[in-house]
Amino acid sequence: MYEIIEKRTLNPTIKLFVVKAPLVARRAEPGQFVMVRIHEKGERIPLTIADYNPGAGTVTIVVQEVGKTTALLGAMEPGDSLPDFLGPLGVPAELPTGGRVMCVGGGVGVAPVYPKAKAMFERGVEVISVIGARTAELLILEEEMRAVSRKLYVTTDDGSKGHHGFVTDIVDRLLREEGSYDEVIAVGPLVMMQAVARVTKPHGVKTWVSLNPIMVDGTGMCGACRVTVGGKTRFCCVDGPMFDGHEVDFEEAIRRARMYQEEETLAREQCRCGGEGYGG
């Protein structure tokens, strides 16, 4: 069992959990993820490692409530335990040790961007960050990101904070006005990553995205997580989750992400009115 040590509400639907998982914490690196099951009849879902502390033996995950499992997880409290917490999985991000890197995070995607920005910042990389959300109250980890960025830009779709518009507006402007970025790292909804990759492509800047497809085992055994990158099928859980954004077939990824939409809705409805009350 893996105990929840701490919980923070980042916005009404995004919660941060610090979980006791010493073996995972010991080997975790930025870019990796865990597979989590929250009760004995639960599904296995991938969650990005948002931070880790090998000394304390803890791993931080950030969860947006989008379906039944994430809603139930969101309702759990410190002292509750997760039966299964497997990791760290995936290939660690190959982060540069110098130069200038733009970190772009959209919505809950800011959480996976954070450990990468932090690791690069600590190594002396000039980190310029752009984070966005639909509206000001949904923006997460702003202070954390500011602390590890040379400069931080904020965007909201409705203009309630920072730039009124999308992260891509800022990405485009920075690339045009400042040029000379060594890399862009973008994590967020698929459409956002696709848009960022489109914007960076003409500038010829290496652009990394982090994919989060449907997974079952997370260890390369089932192929549920397959994505097409550079015309080849790759298993995201063992070959990713970071891929070259200019090579990813986003249309396919978006389509595959919708595979279980109906079932997710059904499960969520049943869970609201069913009153089975798993977990916390």
Partner: protein
């Protein structure tokens, strides 16, 4: 009573009823049936049946015990050499191992050795008699077993019995390997696998789930933690796809995913269980092995109205067990033999809408000795399906083996290990089961585990 030429039939769930549930299909012998069947055995002096058993179960001895009604002696005899009789009695291909060699086959049907083995194991479980017997004093030496399939469980059981401190590391949240995630409930109830895993635990082995060696812990970590001998029982879990257009459409699964969702995650009980599965009304399973039969029979139980096996060779070459093919036919599975998919077609939303196939004919024998299927030009046709499951075989997952210095692998990824001892080219590391042979059988994985455990014991005693 005249000795019958045919075996005592096994009661089964009728096909109409069973495709509506995931309960076991063959229901097992009663004591009377088992004793009658055991009565047919000739108790051969040089029993050929034993030679066919990869772990050399003393077949006539246990059958004699059943005949006499001494079921306890029967199961103890089996367990001297076979740690997982309830599993083997259900899923071993007896028809090509022990039963095919039975002398009675010359005049009629061979003894139903598998059914009798199952009977003895189920009797023991029902009576709650499983005995924990240690054969050696507790020892200080630590052994790591990676993977909890039949190979790993056998090594763990044998070495724990001898008194070693054994830890099994399993990547998934449940132990059992293919027995829990691949083979469906209606062929091997999961409660039986749990019982076997519990037994290994009771022998003193520790079973840690949620540890994927190579990620959570490395082989070097294990060595530092004082594991003196390491067994790789990691199986062959990497699925293959055909590489044809349309394979990433929504509604195309690997058999591993289809079966894992169904069996390990219990998606047939969705939404009571949280994992969904999208099994359409018309399902094609590509392949002709046991895995394909399991997948297609799951599809029927998940509500498919039409379920097809699409196989590029003919009936004769299908590698699946006859019994499984027969069960599939009884349940209404349609066989499209000498048929090979060319591409999968999708609708405007990216879901499978059909599969274009080619008709094949058999040509010259290939390297495997089977006649090679060759496409008939212009024979394309579309099979209207909304779900496709690829059951084309699996390979060992390369992630862990590649991390181990000095570990030699075959070109297709199999670990090279000595057949008699399980030793690999890396010092202190043994391997066995599907990780060495590629997809094979439960009993071969167990046999390899037995040999490796014996050699690990020799090695540790000499150290």
């Amino acid at each position: 009573m005249a000795v019958r030429k045919t075996r005592v039939p096994m009661p089964e769930q009728g096909s109409a009823e069973r495709i509506g549930n995931f309960n076991e299909v063959p229901l097992g012998y009663t004591a009377e049936m088992a004793q009658e069947e055991a009565g047919r055995c000739l108790q051969c002096k040089n029993p050929p049946c034993i030679e066919g058993c990869p772990v050399a179960v003393q077949i006539p001895q246990f059958i004699a015990a059943i005949k006499e009604g001494d079921f306890r002696r029967a199961i103890r005899t089996i367990k001297e050499t076979n740690n997982l009789p309830a599993v083997c009695g259900r899923v071993c291909p007896q028809e090509e191992q022990c039963e095919v060699r039975c002398v009675l086959r010359k005049k009629g049907e061979p003894i139903a050795i598998g059914r009798l083995e199952r009977f003895a194991a189920d009797w023991e479980a029902a009576e709650g008699l499983a005995e924990i017997e240690k054969t050696g004093p507790d020892k200080a030496r630590k052994v790591a077993v990676i993977g909890s399939g039949p190979a790993g469980l056998t090594v763990a059981g044998d070495l724990a019995k001898k008194g070693y401190r054994v830890t099994v590391f399993e990547a998934l949240h449940a132990a059992g390997g293919v027995l829990v995630y691949g083979i469906p409930e209606f062929r091997l109830p999961k409660a039986i696998v749990e019982r076997e895993v519990d037994y290994v635990r009771k022998l003193g082995a520790e079973v840690l789930t949620n540890v994927v060696v190579g990620y959570t812990l490395t082989i070097d970590d294990l060595k530092e933690q004082g594991y003196d001998a390491i067994f790789l029982g990691t199986g062959a879990g990497l699925p293959r796809f055909m590489g044809i257009p349309g394979e990433n459409l929504n509604g195309v699964y690997s058999a591993n995913e289809f079966l894992t969702r169904t069996n390990l995650m219990k998606s047939y009980l969705f939404p009571e269980y949280d994992t969904p599965i999208k099994c359409g009304r018309r399902v094609a399973v590509v392949g002709g092995g046991n895995v394909a039969m399991d997948a297609v029979r799951c599809a029927l139980r998940l509500g498919a109205e039409e379920a097809y096996i699409v196989y590029r060779r003919s009936d004769e070459e299908m590698p699946a067990r006859r019994e499984e093919i027969e069960h599939a036919k009884e349940e209404g599975v349609r066989f499209r033999l000498l048929t090979n998919p060319k591409r999968i077609l999708g609708d405007e939303k990216g879901w499978v809408s059909g599969m274009e196939c080619l008709q094949m004919e058999l040509g010259e024998p290939d390297a495997s000795g089977r006649r090679r299927p060759v496409p008939i030009e212009g024979s394309e046709f579309v099979l209207e399906v909304d779900t496709v499951v690829m059951a084309l075989g699996t390979r060992p997952n390369p992630v862990l083996p590649r991390q181990i210095q000095g570990l030699e692998l075959r070109s297709w990824g199999g670990i090279i290990a000595d057949e008699e001892t399980g030793r690999t080219s890396a010092p202190g590391i043994w391997a066995g089961g599907d990780s060495v042979t590629g997809s094979a059988t439960v009993i071969l994985a167990m046999g390899a585990g037995k040999k490796a455990a014996a050699d690990m014991d020799r090695y540790l005693r000499g150290k």
